[in-house]
Symmetry: C2
Subunit: 414 residues, 2 copies
């Protein structure tokens, strides 16, 4: 619907990243500078906030250019997030009725949702419902996820900063791990249930002075414990310090996660298993079978919130893609997701396009088999060439008293 006039609403959903607020800043800046949009409302805790009438005029607290720049450098979701899943369109319509009643009451003509696969599902359903009832609104999805597992887009906003942190930390850990002479195995556990992009990013740490990681295990490849032990043994013949990067999501041939071994696993609202302890499990096995010192490191939340080490490329692209979603919506697009197309690796060049959300939702993009070495214990050069441009540049961090300053929603009490 071209040239709609009214208010806009923006929400954030799914797991945090270092740059999801850069996208929010991009949406906000483009929206307030458009003559088609009057007020920009921020949904507190995503679609849940809408259902509870918990949304705020975003201009409060974002008065100056610097306020918006600080927002863009703040990790995690400024507006809060949720993992709310809308029912099927033909199943229960009362939630949809409620949502559109609120849209209508607040004259919402633009809706932007920043999130991963599950959030794009929300965008798809809301735009389909709007279409069905003939409500005039332009709804756009903006991708984000550190996992880089969204289909269609060349890469996801958030991945580059996570990759930069992971590669930086891997290189620093290599310096630490090589400090003593006796043999030692260090296992680095990286996030990623089904896609190994983040684990693959450890390979960026390598240079003439850094051999780490010696081995890389991705969820794309079936994990074999005996093969792993053999690999480590071989690597220990080459140097006394061996550093292994392993994805939390590696699975055995019988389909069980390595970390499931005897642990109580919980599932989240989407039925995803909560994974921890792959590195711990493998460290215990290696210690017993090889009789060497082992230790494991989980990057844990830091890989998705270490904004102090964010990629300038990622921050800038995330802001741009947020702004583009607004521009496209004003041009009349709806039910679409904006995404990156890579024009070339070197010099690195991208464009931002948009696609019907129905074509992309709920498909996971994993690492192509040919980008992984034949043995299945390392990545090929293609992965490094692909990730390399995404970690370039150091994002600006606003410092005060020796620590980063963050933007916090005025109404939030944390």
């Amino acid at each position: 619907m071209k040239n709609l006039k009214g208010n806009a609403m923006v929400g954030q959903s799914g797991g945090p990243t270092s740059v999801i607020n850069a996208t929010l800043a991009g949406v906000y800046e483009a929206a307030i500078s458009s003559e088609h949009i009057e007020t920009v409302y921020g949904l507190v805790h995503g679609i849940e906030g809408l259902l509870k009438d918990d949304f705020v005029d975003m201009s409060i607290g974002l008065e100056t250019k610097e306020d918006i720049d600080i927002l863009a450098s703040t990790p995690s979701a400024y507006l809060g997030s949720c993992r709310f899943k809308l029912p099927k369109l033909d199943e229960k319509t009362d939630v949809y009725e409620k949502i559109f009643e609120k849209f209508s009451k607040n004259n919402i003509k633009y809706f932007f949702y920043i999130g991963g696969n599950d959030s794009m599902d929300t965008v798809y359903k809301l735009s389909a419902y709007a279409d069905k009832i003939g409500y005039e609104i332009n709804i756009m999805g903006v991708p984000k996820t550190i996992d880089n597992d969204l289909a269609m887009t060349d890469h996801t906003p958030g991945f580059g900063s996570a990759a930069k942190y992971i590669a930086t930390a891997t290189r620093e850990i290599n310096r630490d791990a090589t400090v003593y002479a006796p043999p030692c195995l260090t296992i680095i556990e990286v996030m990623g249930r089904n896609a190994g992009w983040l684990t693959a990013a450890t390979a960026l740490a390598r240079n003439e002075h850094c051999k780490a990681p010696d081995l890389i295990y991705l969820p794309e490849i079936t994990f074999d414990v005996d093969k792993f032990i053999e690999d480590v043994k071989k690597a220990l013949q080459k140097r006394s310090t061996v550093i292994v990067a392993v994805s939390e999501g590696v699975k055995l041939a019988d389909g069980r996660y390595v970390c499931e071994a005897g642990l109580n696993t919980e599932t989240d609202a989407f039925g995803h298993k909560r994974l921890t302890g792959t590195g711990l499990t493998l460290g215990n096995i290696a210690r017993e079978r090889l009789g060497i010192k082992t230790r494991h490191i989980e990057f844990s939340l830091l890989q998705r919130c270490a904004a102090h080490c964010a990629s300038a490329t990622d921050v800038s692209e995330s802001r741009m893609i947020g702004a583009r979603a607004v521009e496209n919506a004003i041009e009349g697009e709806t039910g679409k997701m904006v995404y990156f197309v890579r024009k070339s690796n070197s010099p690195y060049e991208i464009s931002i396009e948009s696609i019907d959300i129905g074509k992309i939702a709920n498909v996971e993009q994993t690492i192509p088999r040919e980008w992984i070495n034949e043995e299945g214990n390392d990545v090929n050069k293609e992965v490094i060439d692909y990730i390399f441009p995404l970690i370039q540049g150091e994002a600006r961090v606003f410092m005060k008293d020796g620590l980063p300053v963050h933007a916090v929603l005025p109404i939030k009490r944390d």
Copy 2:
């Protein structure tokens, strides 16, 4: 012994820090610019390298001012480290004979050892032995440890950078942890077996926008599981996200470490006993007793090697104290450790002094009881005022291709 002329030797020992190489850079720069010192040898893996004749001319690889600056910004020990303990002086003298034979053969007149409590023990024994046999050499100890548990010195080089990383990460984790609405307990496990300085540094994260950590448990205070659960319950009444900082070294009244206590006996499906950490153990207890979502984060090695987030104050002081050790040795001092005296908190002012090593070795400096709150679950303002100046300023990081560049000893093969 004043005005000795000859060669110098320098070694690094004990656990790595982000700035132990800044001290090495300070030692090296002062030594090569002195007319009393000809060649500066670096011991590979500390005193172990000396016993194996494994030492290098440090000028190789450190040709330019920038080489030395990159060294000063490289985490962990450039020369490698060891945990070698010299025998008692009156017990076995053959090791000492061997060491001094090598000193004599290489015309070593100055010896600098950068390390923690155990390393100062080495300095003490070597200087006492030199005195006993009448070998002319000036031996100086330079402190380092992230734990800040060395007695005498106001603080240790390395602590400020670890504290800055810990406070930064705590603040970022707070942003991440507050993203969802449902109640959640996040437990941050920080290094420190007996001294709680690093765990206390999480308190620096607090500002008007960051309430984390809600609770702080130090090894200085006996840990009571029931009290901990009560504390968390109370904190959950104030906000739905509760973040607890706990030292890995907290102990129960019976003297056992919390991480040893009962809950770590499960075995995984591979039949291996699971070693669990303090944070994991407490998370499991809280989940069971309070029925809430919990997660734990271990800063692990990153807290001692995250040079990408080092304190400029710490780097500069570490370099200065290394240089001062050399100056004092040239002035004739031996058997001493250089250390910091704090003149004032605000404006922050220190001086560097030296003291007989026998007076300081093997005494641990913990947090004074009056700097901890009465309940024993938080720190008082004194701790924050004490740590605050040590985390100020962002150290220069040499970046290439989006990642930090490190100095690596030319002969090292990692």
